[in-house]
């Protein structure tokens, strides 16, 4: 059975979704969702152990050999990502029961969990597949289900946000598939590994250049790179709390993986890629994301929107690390991908607790929340410290590596930029601290109780993970380093 792990990773949640719809029961759907999420985590751990030594697992769908059939290809890069996604999914789904009960009409519960399972299957599918078109299909599976999940938000604006995301996400997916179409014309293959080999020998460079442009724009839309991030703040702010935590920690990360896969493995060997000024473009956009999105975050009056803008900024750090091109930079980018997923997952889960008790998440409604919900508020402060990059949190580890990478290149100003934009994070995290601890609780807030344990425990697990992986970096840095080495091998 272990030889089927790559496909089971996707198929287990995929099969669970229609079963949930057939059974039409919210509680059973939740139990199923929990079991498939934990099964996915176990499978991911198995795969990670299998490829940790640098070996490669190849699975042929329908026993058709690659490059003709669809190949699932697991190396240390996507094994690391799959581990991250299923880890987040396993924690979030345990948390979800209470929060879903409060935020989603009862008759839709089973549909919510079915959509969640589909979204998980889609995200995992993007990660494990080695086929460019299969990747597009899973991109659509995960996107379509996430539009539905976002639209289920209590706020009426959730529908608008989901629609906006639908339009922009579809444009992104279309751009991606146009790019893949051009590459298919040039190389005659859809298998990513085979495509990389053949692309190195392609003579005409115009279509490849166009494909590079389409794929870059398409995936950048999905990962919310700075000027293409407009769908993200509303989608995160108005989605149900569980959905925000899940998507913030996984969806954009998967898109970054797709980008890295294309840049380093598929285009990596072609001369066309090296002829373009990729690094300056990406560094500029990353810096813009880090500063402009952080500055915008400071002026939000909705806490979820604030942290959504912060996500756009943090994505800037990841792309900055990747665009430095060095081993240290790439390691920093990938480890930040992992660390930021933990941090934002923890923050949005805790904010879900506040949303449950207060009903809204605006700064003017949560004054003095630190006195009545001490654990939740303290967790958010710890998460905020990790966003800033304070030592002994995961945020420090990744920013340390990013700074090291810039110094390696001799770009002092970039190191100062990283530290400078972290100062902006201090400002927006302080806004929460000020509201939670330095304001007198209003009469309504004073009556509130701490969030229920079933939500606090998963959320605090994530917070503790933020601290733990800030001290013991063996798994995260080891995995990220191996992934970076594997990606850079394609550039030789």
């Amino acid at each position: 059975m272990t030889s089927h792990l790559p496909i089971l990773q996707v198929v287990v949640p995929l099969i669970a979704a229609p079963i949930m719809v057939l059974l039409r029961s919210g509680p059973i759907a939740w139990v199923l969702a929990v079991s498939v999420s934990w099964a996915a985590l176990a499978i991911a751990a198995g795969l990670f152990v299998e490829v940790a030594d640098g070996s490669l697992v190849s699975y042929w769908i329908g026993s058709w050999p690659p490059p003709y059939g669809i190949e699932y290809r697991i190396d240390v890069v996507n094994a690391f990502l799959v581990l991250l996604i299923s880890l987040i999914a396993a924690v979030v789904i345990v948390y979800s029961r209470e929060s879903v009960r409060a935020e989603i009409p009862r008759e839709r519960h089973y549909l919510f969990y079915a959509m969640y399972a589909l979204c998980l299957a889609g995200l995992l599918g993007i990660a494990v597949t080695g086929d460019a078109f299969n990747l597009f299909v899973f991109l659509e599976v995960s996107s379509l289900s996430s539009y539905v999940l976002i639209a289920l938000g209590r706020d009426r604006r959730a529908l608008m946000a989901a629609y906006q995301y639908l339009i922009l996400g579809t444009i992104g997916a279309t751009c991606y598939v146009i790019g893949v179409g051009l590459l298919y014309l040039e190389t005659g293959t859809l298998n990513l590994a085979d495509m990389a080999v053949r692309l190195a020998q392609v003579s005409g460079d115009r279509p490849v250049l166009a494909a590079l442009a389409f794929i870059t724009v398409g995936i950048s839309l999905k990962l919310a790179l700075f000027p293409l991030h407009l769908w993200l703040p509303n989608a995160y702010a108005y989605a149900p709390s569980v959905v925000t935590a899940f998507l913030a920690a996984t969806a954009t990360k998967v898109s970054i993986y797709v980008l890295l896969r294309f840049y380093f493995h598929v285009f990596g060997g072609s001369a066309i890629f090296d002829a373009q000024p990729m690094a300056p473009i990406w560094i500029t956009l990353s810096l813009a994301a880090m500063f402009i999105a952080s500055a915008t975050a400071i002026f939000q009056d909705n806490v979820k929107r604030l942290f959504a803008y912060s996500s756009v900024a943090q994505i800037g750090y990841m792309t900055l690390g990747a665009s430095l091109g060095s081993f240290t930079g790439l390691t920093g980018g990938i480890v930040h991908l992992f660390n930021h997923a933990l941090t934002k997952g923890a923050l949005f889960l805790l904010l879900g607790g506040i949303a449950l008790r207060v009903g809204t998440i605006r700064f003017d409604a949560i004054g003095g929340i630190g006195r009545v919900m001490p654990l939740t508020s303290f967790g958010i402060v710890l998460g905020g410290l990790s966003l800033i990059g304070v030592p002994a949190t995961v945020g420090f580890v990744s920013k340390w590596y990013l700074v090291l990478a810039t110094l390696e290149r001799g770009d002092w100003w970039l190191a100062f930029a990283i530290v400078g934009s972290s100062m902006l994070a201090v400002v927006y995290v302080w806004r929460f601290v000020e509201a939670a601890y330095f304001r007198e609780p209003s009469a309504e807030v004073a009556r509130l109780r701490e969030a229920p344990l079933s939500m606090l425990v998963p959320a605090w697990l994530m917070v503790l993970a933020c601290v733990y992986f800030g001290l013991d970096t063996q798994l995260t840095l080891g995995g990220a380093g191996a992934a970076a080495a594997e990606l850079l091998r394609g550039r030789q």
Binding site: H4, I7, V11, L14, I15, A17, P18, I19, V21, L22, R24, Y59, W60, I61, G62, S63
Partner: protein
């Protein structure tokens, strides 16, 4: 449109042929143009025609909402389980070669069931979309 005698009679005749044609497209799919998707759309179109002529409540009596929702999920499940059958019989996922001692027949068998899954889901989704649009604002009206 229940009052138009011509429409009612013609529709009744047409629906039988539409359903038959859907089955033809379904089972002839591997030899000619067609397959599960097209057949699913045609069979859903037959029900939609019935709904247009005889009214939505009548169509709801023939194909109730819960049947539609079950179809949407059951087709996907059937498709996915054909893949699992490949694993159980010792092959890879979606491996049709192992479904029959003769690999060619195995391919045919695999495609048959996969197309059946596509048929069920597509016609379910088509009907679901039609019911959603047609049922908008009707909830308060008494559906006899």
């Amino acid at each position: 449109m229940k009052d138009y005698l011509v429409l009612r009679v013609i529709a009744k005749m047409m629906i039988a042929f539409m359903l038959l044609f859907a089955l033809y497209v379904q089972f002839h799919g591997e030899l000619g143009p067609g397959g599960g998707f097209q057949a699913g759309v045609i069979s859903a179109a037959a029900i939609i025609l019935y709904a247009i002529i005889y009214g939505l409540p009548a169509a709801h009596r023939v194909v109730p909402e819960w049947v539609v929702e079950t179809m949407v999920a059951a087709g996907v499940l059937l498709f996915a389980l054909v893949g699992v059958a490949g694993i159980v019989l010792g092959g890879n996922y979606l491996d049709y070669f192992v479904l029959d001692p003769n690999p060619v027949h195995g391919q045919e068998r695999g495609i048959f069931w996969v197309e059946a899954g596509v048929f069920i889901t597509v016609s379910g989704v088509m009907l679901k979309i039609f019911y959603l649009f047609a049922g908008r604002g009707r909830d308060e009206e008494s559906e006899s």
